[in-house]
């Protein structure tokens, strides 16, 4: 028996030593490994799940060495995909936060091993929020069938369902929004079957009917006031149209839009002339962190869809007094479409109130089909307005949001193939300068190569959203929606 054991150990050692000697003789490649996704020089949080990757080409085996100033580990993989050990990865990131990690890839093909130049990943000191909430939907433009709102733990690959079409067939769900990245206050909008706006506060779920006599449609695109007492909505009439030719497949046109603020405690909605102007379309509200300013985008009204190329939205701001519920009469134009010749949409403010991130594109206010749509930052202190070049790509960058510490932004982009949108996470330093973003990692590095759903509306949350899909289903199906009142006195 002992002899057998020794024989096994001897054989294993022999194979390892052969392996090592083969790798020692690996041919040096004067280039970075051809990996997917691109990880070279990305900046990542210290609490992110392993960034698995695949090496393009028919490689039989990989050896990956991850080296930081404070620790290293090596792993071998069969085939051309990595599946990095989560605990070793977490330990390495934890010990090297604020520093770089060098990743050296050895790849074996029939002729032997190749040794590529090591690429670098920077590990930021600041962690990202623990969870990411997003919607998964197949790109179909005009209508939908299967979709769901999911939460993903950032330090692992665990994804859970918050709500989906299996339990709520025929229901379109979108606009999940949280108050300051905390899951305690949440809004989720449902359309078609089981329509209404589900509101979560104090662990209670309520369903509200936001369509009232004062508005032409139900409300959408919410943003919480920091007090948790108000939610700003835009009220839109959206139509989808299709392009006769070219790479842009569809377009969402806002035929009309207004804005209003919902008083959560009073179950009452109110607005003002500046938010419901006859001469303008107003959309995509966003409160400043102190609650005193409401940002939004606005364009002159027009005849649509004929004038859609002329619909260029400016970034505007108006004051708001939460005590008196008074909306200011003066609208401040922060970025004028007349100056840029472009359209601004989806303003999202950093938690410290200094930076406003927007999408800038040629026309309209839904950037998700505009390939030219890029992310821009407005520094509210210096008034500098500049593109986030390291985050942008030649294809669409659209919905984006900030982490609770203001160092991370998450955004969706169609850069991979022009059709499916995926989630990227980027670091923004305290001066508003971005670093190269990374694709939301998956357990299987080839996951995105065959996945037929688009990720959209990514939002960071600091804790797990502790609503079960069944509770959500019950609220959506069984409770009759509370009808809000529209207060015309403002």
């Amino acid at each position: 028996m002992n002899r057998k054991k020794f024989l096994y150990i001897f054989l294993i050692l022999l194979s390892v030593s052969c392996h090592r000697s083969e790798i020692r003789e690996a041919s040096e490649e004067d280039c970075f490994p051809p990996i997917f996704p691109d990880l070279n020089e990305v900046t990542i949080p210290p609490n992110v799940a392993p960034l698995n990757f695949l090496v393009e080409g028919g490689y039989e085996q990989l050896k990956v060495e991850l080296t930081g100033n404070n620790g290293r580990f090596t792993q071998y993989f069969k085939g051309n995909k990595t599946r990095l050990d989560p605990s070793k990865w977490q330990e390495l990131l934890h010990n090297n936060s604020g520093q770089s990690i060098f990743i050296r890839v050895f790849a074996k093909e029939q002729k032997g091993w190749k040794k590529f130049r090591p690429f670098t990943i920077s590990v930021a000191r600041e962690p990202v929020d623990d969870y990411l909430v997003y919607r998964l939907i197949m790109p179909g433009f005009q209508t939908w069938n299967n979709m769901g709102i999911y939460q993903r733990q950032m330090s692992s690959f665990k994804q859970e369902t918050i709500a989906d079409s299996r339990l709520l067939p025929g229901t379109c769900m979108n606009c999940h929004t949280f108050l300051q990245n905390a899951p305690d206050n949440m809004v989720l909008h449902l359309r078609e079957n089981n329509s209404g706006t589900v509101l979560r506060q104090n662990q209670q779920l309520r369903k509200i009917n936001t369509k009232s006599e004062g508005t032409f449609s139900a409300a959408g695109f919410p943003y919480w006031h920091p007090s948790g007492k108000f939610v700003a909505f835009s009220i839109n009439k959206v139509k989808q149209v299709f392009h006769s030719t070219g790479p842009v497949r569809a377009h969402a046109i806002d035929m009309n839009s207004d804005m209003a603020i919902y008083d959560v405690e009073q179950n009452e909605m109110f607005s003002s002339d500046v938010l419901m102007s006859e001469q303008a379309f107003e959309a995509f509200p966003c409160f400043s962190p102190d609650g005193g300013t409401l940002y939004f985008v606005s364009s002159k009204s027009g005849s649509l869809p004929e004038d859609q190329h002329e619909m260029k939205y400016s970034l505007c701001a108006v004051s708001f007094d939460a005590q008196t519920k008074k909306i200011g009469a003066e609208v401040d134009t922060l970025i004028s479409a007349a100056v840029t010749g472009k359209s601004v949409s989806i303003p999202r403010i950093s938690p410290d109130g200094r930076f406003l991130m927007v999408c800038l594109f040629d026309y309209g206010n839904f950037p998700s089909y505009n390939p030219e749509s890029d992310l821009y930052l407005l520094d509210l202190h210096t008034k500098a307005f500049y593109p986030l070049e390291l985050l942008n790509s030649p294809d669409v960058e659209s919905y984006h949001s900030w982490s609770s510490n203001g160092r991370w932004v998450v955004f969706s982009s169609r850069r991979m193939d022009g059709l499916y949108s995926h989630i990227y996470i980027g670091y923004i330093d305290s001066d508003g300068q971005p670093r190269k973003p990374f694709l939301l990692p998956q357990k299987d590095a080839a996951f995105y190569s065959t996945f037929l759903y688009s990720f959209n509306l990514p939002e960071f949350v600091v804790r797990r959203v502790d609503i079960s899909a069944i509770d959500f289903e019950r609220t959506a199906k069984e409770s009759s929606a509370e009808q809000l009142r529209f207060d015309n006195s403002h």
């Binding site: 299967n146 299996r166 339990l167 299709f242 006769s244 190569s449 069944i470």
Partner: protein
């Protein structure tokens, strides 16, 4: 002893003949009368031979049934394979039920009695939305019961029946009720023991079953209807027939248990009559032969057998929108659209372009991309194909992914095409096609030399305009603007106006493109132009129309008759029903 052997032999021959009749009959019925359903079922799924795909079945009930069912459905791609698989499964079901009946009493079950549930299974397969997985779930549930019934220790068996319920549900889905029902019948009819104990056990079984299902609802995320039926769909008549199947199996077991041997002739007669009625009524009420005809044409279109597709479309001439759609489309493939237009049954604009929106069923949406693809409006075809896939039962369709590959290669969107090809490369029956298509990726010079790619690229509109989903008129005008000699688009546009009774735009379009006809003017267009002339004689130089004297004479006759009959259409129908004039005056399409 010799007599006994003879009896056994003759019984064996009878049983074998019945089995052959059952399998052969089902196979012949499906292969001769229902092949389109099988082809379509394969096209609406995508079985990928990857660990991820196999593992995804774990997250839903009926894991084993669905895995096996969808694995088998991929073979439907081969001619006759679908009918063969279903026929063999029906035969297996028959043998299984006979084996189960034996566990309820070692007497002869005959061949008719166990055929009754099998006949219901056969009927279920007539419904396009019924899944093979449900049949496999049923068979597996019966098989599991049969195996459990051999456990001799009644306490162990009863405990195992209880503990197995969640597992059986996970493996077979809603067929767990078959397993549970058979278990209850077995314990009450066959096993011995105190009645009170058996009743308590039955109650416990019901509690365990229902509470297991409720507990599994969250991880599986199912509505209550799905929870009890999955993978059977909660729709009529499928759900009702499925429940009837379970009840019938129970009744068959009870009848078998209580009836004495030899079975009275009256029983046999009644059973036979019932069997014939189930099959006959099932075929009449559940069989959708109109859909089958459309699917038969559609299959030929999918396999690019355009002559055969046109032959079948003309032969069947199905009087609904899908029938008219394929009638017109296949005639257009052969360049005979206007000549054949009123020789078939027209149903209005939907017979030219099937609407694409969420009020349509996935079958119609799946078909809808074919016309756009044929005409070269690949963006509209893409939209239809994407929606078809979204609404398909599994949100993955091999057929629509193949179409999306073609579209994205034509559009030069190679990254998206590559994504779809990677998916198809992991299948058995589409991987060769995928490999063939891969050569076009990022290879513009090869694409430029390839007829089907170049042809479609040449047809693509150049003017970038926005249009709504069903704005076909704009689509056709853009295609003609790009390629004025695009005859298929021209005929579709002219027929579009004819269907709309829009003679002004018909005439305008005709005179703009008159050169295309080169003196060979289809009769239907001559008829319409005569109306145009009657409506506005000074608008065009009508003399330039190559009008046949016969058509002119017939028009004269029609107008005389029309005036004479004071517009009473019934009097004109016999002679003029196939003319555009009759259509113009009397056609009125109702929504289907």
């Amino acid at each position: 002893m010799i007599l006994g052997s003879k009896n056994i032999t003759s019984r064996g021959i009878w049983t074998g003949s019945w089995a052959l009749l059952l399998t052969g009959g089902a196979f012949l019925f499906f292969v001769l009368k229902y092949p389109g359903h099988f082809y379509f079922a394969e096209q609406m799924q995508l079985f990928r031979l990857t660990p991820e795909h196999i593992l995804h079945y774990w997250s839903k009930p009926a894991m084993l049934a669905r895995l096996a069912g969808e694995f088998l459905i991929q073979f439907y791609f081969l001619t006759g394979a679908g009918p063969f698989i279903v026929a063999v499964l029906l035969l297996s079901g028959w043998f299984l039920i006979r084996a189960v009946l034996k566990r309820f009493g070692n007497r002869r079950s005959g061949v008719i009695l166990p055929s009754l549930p099998v006949a219901i299974l056969f009927v279920l397969h007539l419904d396009l939305s019924y899944s093979l997985s449900a049949t496999l779930g049923f068979l597996l549930a019966v098989l599991f019961f049969w195996l459990f019934s051999f456990i001799g220790n009644s306490l162990v068996r009863r405990v195992l029946f209880l503990f197995a319920l969640p597992l059986i549900y996970w493996l077979t889905g809603g067929a767990v009720f078959v397993f549970a029902g058979l278990a209850v019948l077995f314990e009450h009819l066959v096993a011995k023991g105190k009645l009170s104990f058996r009743l308590i056990w039955s109650g416990l079984l019901a509690v365990v079953l229902l509470s297991s299902l409720e507990l599994l609802r969250l991880p599986f995320r199912l509505t209550y209807a799905e929870l009890f039926l999955f993978p059977v769909q909660f729709r009529i008549p499928q759900a009702i027939i499925w429940i009837l199947l379970q009840v019938t199996l129970g009744v068959v077991v009870v009848v078998h248990f209580f009836r004495s041997e030899p079975v009275a002739r009256g029983w046999l007669f009644a059973e036979t009559l019932l069997l014939v009625w189930v099959i006959g009524a099932g075929i009449s009420f559940v069989g959708n032969f109109r859909l089958e005809k459309n699917l038969a044409v559609d299959s030929q279109v999918y396999f690019e057998n355009y002559f055969e597709a046109a032959r079948l479309a003309r032969k069947y001439n199905v009087g609904n929108s899908v029938g008219a759609y394929y009638y017109n489309l296949t005639n257009s493939y052969l360049g005979q659209m206007p000549e054949m237009f009123f020789k078939g049954r027209q149903t209005g604009l939907k017979g030219l372009f099937l609407p694409v929106d969420n009020r349509q069923n996935y079958v119609t949406i799946t078909f809808s991309n074919e016309v756009y693809y044929h005409l070269g409006d690949v963006n509209a075809a893409q939209h239809s194909a994407l929606l078809g896939m979204i609404f398909s039962p599994h949100q993955q369709s091999s057929r629509l992914i193949r179409r999306l590959v073609q579209i994205n290669i034509i559009n030069g969107e190679y990254a998206v095409a590559a994504k779809y090809l990677r998916i198809l490369e992991t299948t058995w029956f589409h991987r060769d096609w995928a490999k063939q298509m891969s050569q076009y990726l990022y290879n513009d010079s090869l694409c430029a030399q390839t007829f089907w790619i170049k042809g479609k690229r040449d047809q693509q509109p150049v003017t970038a305009v926005l249009k709504t989903t069903n704005d076909q008129e704009k689509t056709l005008k853009l295609l003609l603007e790009k390629k004025p000699d695009h005859e298929a688009a021209l005929h579709y546009l002219l027929c579009f106006y004819l269907m709309n009774k829009n003679i002004a735009d018909f005439s305008e379009t005709f005179f703009q493109n008159r050169v295309v006809f080169k003196g060979n003017l289809p009769e239907i267009y001559q008829q319409a132009l005569l109306i145009g002339y009657a409506q506005n004689p000074s608008r065009y130089d009508w003399r330039k129309i190559a009008l046949s004297p016969d058509v002119a004479a017939r028009f004269k006759k029609y107008t005389e008759q029309f005036e004479k009959q004071q517009g009473q259409g019934e009097h004109l129908r016999k002679e003029f029903e196939n003319t555009y004039w009759f259509f113009f005056h009397y056609a009125d399409f109702k929504d289907e």
